[in-house]
């Protein structure tokens, strides 16, 4: 069964460093998402991406964040200058076209900012 894959599974970084989290969505999906989950808390929407541009973003997704689909398969989340409060599990998700399709999530990338 096709699945969303994410790398790395765990990254430790120093505050102020840049981090890139990578995702390979399911191949025939058209909509891509990043969510995050701070330990023990709810799953929060960050950004959605369709047709090579951001379609929606939350208040969390400020200028420190960016997304890119550089090669038609990878979907990346970049945090330019990490803060302690960016420590969280970051989930990538994708879905087919059509408003009723469910999201398929990856296993997540745990980011620890020291």
């Amino acid at each position: 069964e096709p699945e969303v894959t994410q790398t790395p599974s765990h990254q430790v970084t120093q505050m102020g460093q840049e981090v890139i989290l990578r995702c390979v969505p399911i191949s025939n999906h058209l909509y891509f998402y990043w969510y995050r989950q701070i330990l023990g808390q709810k799953v929060e929407f960050l950004v959605s991406f369709y047709n090579n541009e951001i379609s929606e973003k939350s208040e969390i997704f400020d200028d420190q964040f960016s997304v890119e689909r550089p090669d038609g398969s990878n979907f990346t989340l970049k945090i330019r200058s990490t803060k302690l409060e960016d420590s969280a599990m970051y989930f990538c998700a994708s879905r087919r076209g059509g408003i009723t399709g469910e999201l398929f999530f990856g296993e997540g990338s745990r980011l620890t900012v020291l």
């Binding site: 929606e56 408003i99 009723t100 469910e102």
Partner: protein, 115 residues
């Protein structure tokens, strides 16, 4: 705006007993509702969804959910709980007639099934 409430942080049930995990939602238009499950250190797995039609929706692993429009609820149920059902359960909503396209998740309910 769309929102989801899961009023119980924790639900404990004995194996073999029926379980219910509660969810209420708020949308301005028509809701599109989901349940996802998260096992420790794993991603979210889709369980079931409601769009329109029959108010009782059947999903994976014997789970079902009942849509109640008047109570704006979408409770997750299973007739006979298994220890392996122990996990974190999230309800989510998307407003089908609104401009938002993302899913909004509830805060999650930790289900523990006791042997």
């Amino acid at each position: 705006a769309q929102s989801v409430a899961q009023p119980e942080d924790q639900v404990n049930v004995a194996e073999g007993n029926p379980l219910t995990v509660k969810c209420t939602y708020s949308v301005s238009g028509n809701p599109y509702l989901f349940w996802y499950v998260q096992y420790p250190n794993r991603g979210l797995q889709f369980l079931l969804k409601y769009i329109t039609g029959d108010n009782l929706v059947k999903g994976s692993y014997g789970f079902e959910a009942e849509f109640n429009k008047s109570q704006t609820s979408f409770h997750l149920k299973k007739p006979s709980a298994l220890v392996s059902d122990s996990a974190l359960y999230f309800c989510a909503v998307r407003d089908l007639t609104g401009s938002a396209r993302q899913l909004t998740f509830g805060s999650g309910t930790q289900l523990t099934v006791l042997p």
